[in-house]
Symmetry: C2
Subunit: 424 residues, 2 copies
């Protein structure tokens, strides 16, 4: 019994906005834990992130077959449900930490794997301190994930490469389209992409253009305060030279005073405030000033869910991060995050590294200044060198006979509860 007690179970949960490849990390965690059954018991997943731990809403992943777990690798979204929930500090809400310990103890959990971005790293860091601060032995490992690509230390964040590929491919395709139409119809296409604080995803739009295949693209970064006149001049110049222009606008683009472009005080016919996007604002602006016909699109969730065009290197790295997290736990590590360490650009080479969580949590990595071209509307070769390997390769999901991808839905069988209910 004592020996059996020593083999601890693991907790795994997904946090924040989901991605095309966060389940590939889940797959890496679960498959690696299963390969180490002598050391790790069951993997319990939190239903809807840390909330699952607090409410003792645990999923017994062992009820799903090896084939089902394998299929996570090619399934977008968060298979166990995600959450937007940040633990307060121990001092502010001791009750939540005591509850976590209760749940972990009740289910013999000794490993905590948390899969998310900056906020989630903070949650993971707080959990990692349970051992030291409250005497409960836990090893907390953060598994990096975020389309925002803003975690420090790691070369990139799993999830980003696939969004970047989707945006690069879509920008290229839409640009080919508008180029065909420009003579008598649409001359400007505006695509809005994610990225409230950093322009990483917008930058990926710039990859659609290359020396071999130049495409007139104007990128609007959140890092560059919006200058209407300069922007309109840039669009006009491209349309005059190429006949058309594609604008990739980050949702976070704002005026010099910090106000978002999308927040333009729109009111409907009844005077109700309406939430719009940045793309229609930009499109209307082009129409009003230059009288070019336009179309606009907003990729929104399509971009981060687009597993059908995921980047191969992104899928591999997402899986590798999940696998490495378990290996780090088995080595006795706590309060760390595996990282992608780039060792060479051409050819692209990387290895798994490790970072202490207190250097990760609450640190935001912005786009380097030398990734944005001098005029503020494009990307530099340095940026291209960085992005290219991340969007390289395809990793197509299998398709069903009905023409749709075979994305898995797990059984997600609940673990019987042992504790009284807990109010969040």
């Amino acid at each position: 019994m004592a020996a059996k007690q020593q083999k601890k179970n693991a907790f795994y949960a997904q946090s924040g906005g989901v991605t095309a490849v966060i389940n590939a990390s889940a797959c890496g965690v679960i498959e690696t834990a299963r390969a180490n059954k002598d050391k790790i018991g069951k993997v319990y997943a939190g239903r809807n992130g840390i909330i699952g731990a607090l409410t003792e809403d645990l999923i017994d992943t062992s009820m799903d077959s090896a084939a089902a777990i394998k299929a996570l690798r090619h399934t977008p979204s968060g298979a166990f449900g995600s959450c937007r929930f940040k633990l307060k500090s121990l001092e502010q809400n001791r009750r939540e930490y005591e509850r976590l310990i209760e749940v972990f103890e009740a289910h013999n959990i000794g490993y905590f794997f948390y899969n998310g971005g900056g906020d989630s790293a903070d949650t993971c860091l707080k959990v990692s301190q349970l051992s030291q601060k409250m005497g409960y032995p836990i090893q907390a490992i953060h598994v990096p994930k975020t389309v925002d690509n803003d975690l420090p230390i790691t070369d990139n964040c799993p999830g980003f490469g696939s969004v970047a590929k989707y945006i690069a491919v879509s920008t290229m395709e839409a640009s080919f389209d508008v180029a065909s139409m420009a003579k008598t119809s649409t001359k400007v296409f505006v695509l809005e992409v994610m990225g409230r604080h950093a322009g990483w995803i917008a930058a990926a739009g710039g990859m659609a253009s290359s020396d071999d295949n130049p495409i007139p693209i104007v990128i609007l970064f959140p890092e560059v305060p919006f200058d209407k006149d300069k922007f309109l001049a840039a669009v006009k110049q491209k349309v005059e030279k190429f006949g058309y222009c594609t604008v990739v606008v980050s949702e976070g683009v704002h005026w010099p005073d910090g106000k978002f472009l999308s927040d333009q005080g729109l009111k409907d016919a009844f005077g109700h405030a309406q939430l719009g996007g940045a793309a229609p604002v930009i499109a209307n602006m082009v129409k009003d000033a230059l009288d070019y016909k336009f179309h606009w699109g907003v990729a929104d969730y399509l971009q981060r869910a687009a597993r059908h065009i995921a980047s191969k290197s992104d899928v591999e790295q997402a899986y590798a991060m999940g696998k490495a997290a378990v290996q780090l736990a088995l080595k006795g590590e706590n309060s760390v995050m595996p990282t992608v360490d780039r060792t060479s650009n051409k050819p692209y080479r990387w290895k798994v590294g490790v970072a202490p969580l207190n250097k990760v949590a609450n640190v935001e990595k912005m786009m380097p200044k030398n990734f944005i071209s001098k005029d503020g509307f494009g990307i530099t070769n340095k940026c291209r060198e960085y992005l290219e390997p991340l969007i390289k390769g395809e990793d197509y999901p299998p398709y069903d006979k009905n023409g749709l991808p075979k994305y898995i839905r797990l059984k997600n069988v609940g673990v019987p509860k042992k504790l009284p209910d807990f109010e969040l």
Copy 2:
């Protein structure tokens, strides 16, 4: 010399909104013409559709290699440029027809292949009457294309199947995403798709859900006058049952009085009218009435340009229509359009048919009533049976080492002009 003169050249042009596979039809036309060099001379493409013919702006496709022409099969958009330009009737604008004959004569053109939708079929029909009405011997064949899927007689229109696949896959992916987020964040995702008059593309969103993998989807068709209360009740019921809901809204959705939902009299802070989409209107409506967190996307050009996820059957049929057009011309036909004739549903079988152009031009095929479910928010099994074969199979483009598709840009070398300029 007389014998050589008998071998006529062909004119090919692209018209209307371009698609992911219209170039596959171009490929079918050019490759089949090249395979019949004993009967057909050069293929001249019109730069920007019929405008290229009127302005004598012809492209010599023989200047592009076999490999380049082959690559058209996997390249979206219109390689020669498209146009929105409808010929007036002979009675209304005889000058344009005389000009066409001048240009055709100057370049020894005896075959006219026009690749487009309903309006383009009308243009093609008018050109086909040149022989009879003006004594110029021409064989005009229409090559069907339109994402709207509204041409009569043919089972479907090349271009539609690929949009349908893109929308089905994207709806599935975004639905998986919102399902993951629903516990603490987004509960409703709204996706706006093309289709101003007919709901074919919106219907494709319904394919994301199946008996094996049920997804709560509410579809808003242009065929069904918008009923706000009924719609909100449908969304509420889905969210209460599944925890989340995806809304696929056609751009053509309108109120019972015919006014588009997207036309809501939006004014910005300065009182300027703003053109918005239907998706933000629907999303704001859900927020106001039900207080669910939402996200919305507008696929716009991304959907019709998405060659990266084209349907295999669509690509095959697009190519087959181009090939058949040339074969019909070689058989001496005029004023016809090749069609896709469905001969069996399960397994899906089809063959190439032929329709007289006067039965095609200016006839719009709407969605059959029995394709829309009784509540007006979904698709029937009859609709599924129709759509399923059209989105079946994948036909991936090759990718470059930089992670982007290898889409071809032709040289598009102009044919030396022989005539004076012509004012459009």
